[in-house]
Symmetry: C2
Subunit: 247 residues, 2 copies
């Protein structure tokens, strides 16, 4: 296993950082690595924002409710962005649309590939990172804070920074290979049930050993609970306001 | 600049591979790296398929129209997948839903972060990769070929393999940092117009020098043309059939 794969396998989300800010040089390096990711048909349908204004960080923290949105080395926000394409088309006297489900997928994929490159680049420099999906708790307000125009919306944030001493995060075991990887034909649940059951038990044991038995939920219980809540219903409303999903 | 960042910056899509197939070990290593990526609230809303059956590869190639979908070291297909969550909830006597725009975003982000880790891991081993968004040319048929159940759809493919001798791909310059990175407040088009115009000119020169002047389109012309076509309208239909975007 080479060093790059070790780095990827060793990923864990970090949430406690020193006060040291990322330098302009580091930010440019990270954004450059992000931009090197593949992009669907060269469309580059995203922007990356850096938030340094303390008032804006505080306001975004309030949306996310997570303290590390305010306290970190740098706060990036990944934006799905067709605004510039629309404006450039206008200048050329024509019109484009990004109102189809396909366009939304392209934008979300493009931004995500870039973000994961940024995460890998940051970790290769000894920085820690954590994705901040909770900016979508109020996706409209998050976009207003950053001044996003039509065609652009907040997909997620990412905090990066120098890990606080002793802060090592924790790596949660993923679903077994057998349950996630399918050769040629998708395996129905009964074919992977044993693997998932064994995984569920390991996750339950993991929580139990970390909490002295106070918590012992299985993975399937966690995700069932999460997916039974109707969360972030206004994401759909905001996307339509911004010109997406109107087809 | 460290070696990982050099690797990321050096990414280019490769489309010509030797006949050598990826070993089972390599596939497991790549999938392991993919699974190490962050996942929204631990939901792991994706599956990764490996397609080795020549008939299926041929059928997927016909959808994509790209020869390398058939000729490669391995063909991965990334699937947004809430099927197993739904089945596990059923077993627990409850019901979950993934019919909201938010759920779609979570699944597309999860699968994309995993895919980009797989791409980086593959390139670190000297393999080349290319994303295959064109499986969405017929997203319904692509899913049928792979036997995808409700809750699961084909997001994109990725071919990987050992580069054919002399095959080095080509790296297309990305939008300038100044046009993609915004500090604190989104910059409207007029603030980045000069950067984009200069970029457009460089892209035009690049094509011109590679084609002896036969082609000299700017980036903005390319994306305007692409986005003025109404492509892949059935993605929306298929997603709704699969239980997404029904809210």
């Amino acid at each position: 296993m080479n060093d790059v794969i070790k780095l990827l396998n060793n990923h864990r989300s970090l949430r406690k950082f020193t006060d040291e800010k990322l330098s302009e040089d580091t930010i440019r390096t990270l954004v450059g690595a992000a931009q090197s990711a593949s992009t669907s048909s060269y469309v580059q349908a995203y922007s990356i924002m850096g938030v340094t204004d303390p008032e804006k960080k505080k306001a975004l923290r309030e949306i996310s409710t997570q303290s590390y949105v305010e306290h970190n080395g740098h706060l990036f926000v990944f934006v799905v962005d067709f605004y510039r394409h629309k404006e450039l088309a206008k200048q050329a006297g024509t019109e484009i649309s990004y109102d189809k489900t396909e366009n939304l997928i392209v934008g979300v994929v493009d931004a995500s590939l870039a973000a994961q490159n940024l995460a890998t680049a940051a970790e290769s420099m000894g920085l820690g990172i954590c994705y901040i999906g909770s900016l979508r708790n109020d996706i409209k307000k998050a976009g207003e804070i950053l001044g996003l125009p039509e065609g652009a919306f907040v997909l997620f944030g990412m905090v990066a920074g120098y890990p606080e001493l002793g802060e090592d995060g924790s790596k949660k075991e993923r679903l077994p290979f057998e349950a996630v990887y399918h050769e040629n034909t998708y395996q129905k649940i009964e074919e992977v049930q044993d693997d998932i059951d064994a995984y569920d038990q390991r996750i339950s044991d993991y929580y139990s050993s970390r909490t002295n038995g106070k918590r012992d939920d299985k993975w399937s219980e966690q995700v069932t609970e999460m997916l039974s809540k109707k969360q972030r219903l206004d994401v759909d409303t905001l996307l339509k306001e911004k010109g997406f999903l109107r087809q």
